[in-house]
């Protein structure tokens, strides 16, 4: 019955995967940009947190307050400069440029930090402990907290997009940026806002990941980018709830894989990802077709 425990944990970690994924989904949905450096940005968030904590000695849980807005600002700037410039050339160029960015970030980290793994110790005894349901199920509080945060953020984002003025502008620009210009909207600014949200959420997810697990300079592409992408594809583009579902499916698939063979965790997830890509590329929560 140990697999029930793993599946529950798989569901909960799915929330984190969804948090990784929503920024990727946003950037693709709004600007048609596939940001291959997305995972590395999460890791940068983690490393900035490590640095900030080392310098200011604030509690780990407070690092969010500094790092997330900082990363959001970085996102806006990067979007208005580098990414917009490559978008103006072509979609191909954005792929090449974000790929280049990813390689530069990783090797930059390898050069200036080192290749060892880092972890953000939480330091709060309650959070690192677990609670049990019955004799078979043990759930770390931290994981539950991460899941809760992920759901809250996704809810907040959904609300923002549906109700707020900027959310409306983002959706309008995503539909037809030229028509938006005719209504007086500078779509480059709106793109910047979307990128800021994407960078902010992925940094949040990166720090959370650092608290739960370890990260190293290559974790961005080894792990996070593929997880984020898998969650987006499995869940389907255009729906934040689809992304959550995608994250959960991925988490569960990995848990099942781990049960079959402890080293098959990653493989199981990728196989599910490939299967969805081939047989149902619009995802499990179809909103719009892709191929």
């Amino acid at each position: 019955m140990a697999w029930v425990n793993d599946i529950i944990q798989g569901i909960l970690i799915g929330g984190l995967y969804a948090l990784f994924a929503c920024g990727l989904s946003l950037m693709f949905g709004v600007m048609k940009v596939v940001n291959l450096a997305h995972g590395d940005l999460a890791i940068i968030g983690g490393y900035i947190a490590v640095g900030v904590i080392a310098v200011t000695h604030i509690p780990v849980l407070w690092s969010f307050v500094i790092v997330v807005p900082l990363m959001a600002l970085l996102g806006y700037v990067l979007q208005r400069t580098v990414i917009q410039a490559s978008l103006d050339r072509s979609i191909l160029t954005t792929l090449l440029v974000t790929f280049g960015l990813s390689v530069v970030i990783e090797n930059g980290l390898l050069e200036f930090v080192n290749a060892d793994s880092h972890s953000l110790g939480v330091g709060n005894a309650i959070i690192t402990s677990s609670f049990s349901i019955g004799s078979q199920i043990t759930i770390p509080y931290l994981l539950l907290l991460i899941f809760a945060v992920a759901v809250v953020v996704l809810l907040g984002l959904q609300y923002f997009l549906s109700v707020s003025r900027y959310g409306r502008l983002i959706r309008a620009v995503a539909d037809d940026k030229e028509a938006a210009q005719l209504s007086g909207i500078d779509y480059r600014h709106v793109f910047g806002i979307a990128a800021a949200i994407a960078f902010g959420t992925v940094a949040l997810a990166g720090i959370a990941y650092g608290m739960y697990s370890q990260f190293s300079p290559t974790t961005g592409t080894d792990t996070i980018l593929l997880f984020a992408f898998a969650a987006v594809v499995i869940g389907g583009l255009g729906s934040l709830w689809g992304t959550l579902l995608g994250g959960v499916v991925l988490g569960v698939a990995q848990a099942v894989g781990a049960q079959i063979n402890s080293s098959d965790q990653l493989l199981a997830g990728y196989i599910v990802f490939l299967a969805v890509l081939v047989f149902r590329p619009q995802g499990l929560v179809a909103r719009g077709a892709q191929s």
């Binding site: 050339r89 979609i91 440029v97 790929f99 280049g100 530069v104 050069e111 980018l225 593929l226 490939l274």
Partner: protein, 333 residues
């Protein structure tokens, strides 16, 4: 044009004579260059001509290396294994194409990456070929190291020449026309009978063969095959950057880009990750500001073309400058 052919022949002959004059250190560096050049011309074919941005070509590099390893384990000479490995990778490309062919740009890119990682994870499960840690080639030829180096070098030179020649001939022929038509207007190309899907598949398979051959060459030159090394995404980074900097969508580009890459790598060899950082930054800048890379800059200013593929369009009077539109259909007013 005839001069180009003659010049190329001279270059190849000179290179072939190298093992008699230079030391093994230089040979090793050149073999590395051959690998990168082969990979780069394949990636250029994919991204620059067929519009397929693959971030998973390392799958073929790894498969090529493992084909050699597996054959060698069964007592096949590593040199004889190379052509088999290349063909094997071409065959492997078919089911892979079936998996990813319907996906558009960004999804295609990430799918190729996932595919490569999946293949890596699967291969790591077989201890008979080294599992996760890798394995040296068990049956290396009984030759002195100098001779072995020379043979490796010549095989590398042959692979590169064949790869470049293949790309050139393909693009000169019907495939080149079809690819240009697709690039200009896919819907029109399709409706005029061009087999778009077939053309792209052919390119993918050829790239698979080429990258597989490069991977096999890698195994031969290293005499050891480690999964994390041969399946590393760094291979894609290196071939992509070389192409982007040299000139995406030109045949000369990969050559120029490989030279830049090797120069950077040699000068920064002791600085670990630096050459990739610089290479990456330069590639990003080039991608945005100089779409056709270094060769594009040379071409624009000197109006030189080594490999005659595609055509130029004269637009007299528009702004005085010659309008050079390589490999695009001309719209005649």
């Amino acid at each position: 044009m005839a001069w180009t052919g003659l010049g190329a022949l001279v270059v190849v002959v000179v290179l072939a004579l190298f093992p008699y004059v230079v030391g093994p250190g230089t040979e090793t560096i050149l073999v590395q260059a051959f690998i990168i050049l082969t990979l780069a011309s394949m990636w250029n074919l994919l991204a620059g001509y067929a519009g397929l941005v693959s971030v998973g070509q390392q799958a073929f590099v790894g498969l090529g290396a493992y084909f050699v390893l597996i054959l060698n384990v069964h007592s096949v000479s590593m040199f004889s294994a190379l052509p088999v490995a290349a063909v094997g990778c071409g065959v492997a490309a078919l089911p892979m194409w079936w998996l990813v062919s319907r996906l558009r740009s960004g999804y295609f890119a990430i799918a190729t990456w996932v595919l490569a990682t999946t293949i890596l994870l699967i291969i790591e499960k077989f201890p008979s070929i080294g599992g996760g840690t890798g394995m040296s080639l068990p049956h290396t030829p009984n030759l002195s190291s100098a001779v072995l180096e020379a043979y490796t070098y010549w095989i590398g030179l042959a692979v590169t020449v064949v790869a470049l020649l293949a790309v050139y001939l393909l693009l000169r022929g019907r495939l080149g026309l079809v690819l240009t038509a697709i690039r200009d207007d896919e819907v029109a190309a399709r409706s005029s009978g061009a087999r778009v899907g077939l053309a792209r598949m052919l390119v993918f398979v050829v790239a698979g063969i080429g990258c597989g051959a490069a991977g096999a060459l890698l195994a031969i030159s290293q005499l050891i095959v480690q999964p994390s090394a041969v399946f590393s995404v760094q291979w894609t980074a290196e071939m992509a950057f070389a192409v982007i900097i040299g000139g995406l969508g030109t045949i000369e580009g990969p050559i120029l880009g490989t030279i830049v890459y090797m120069v950077l790598q040699q000068t920064l060899a002791s600085y670990n990750a630096w050459y990739l950082i610089i290479l990456g930054l330069v590639a990003m800048v080039v991608a945005i500001f100089a779409r056709r890379g270094l060769w594009g800059l040379v071409d624009d200013h000197l109006h030189v073309r080594l490999f005659p593929v595609g055509y130029w369009l004269w637009t007299p009077g528009s702004n005085g400058r010659r309008g050079v539109i390589p490999r695009r259909g001309g719209r005649h007013s």
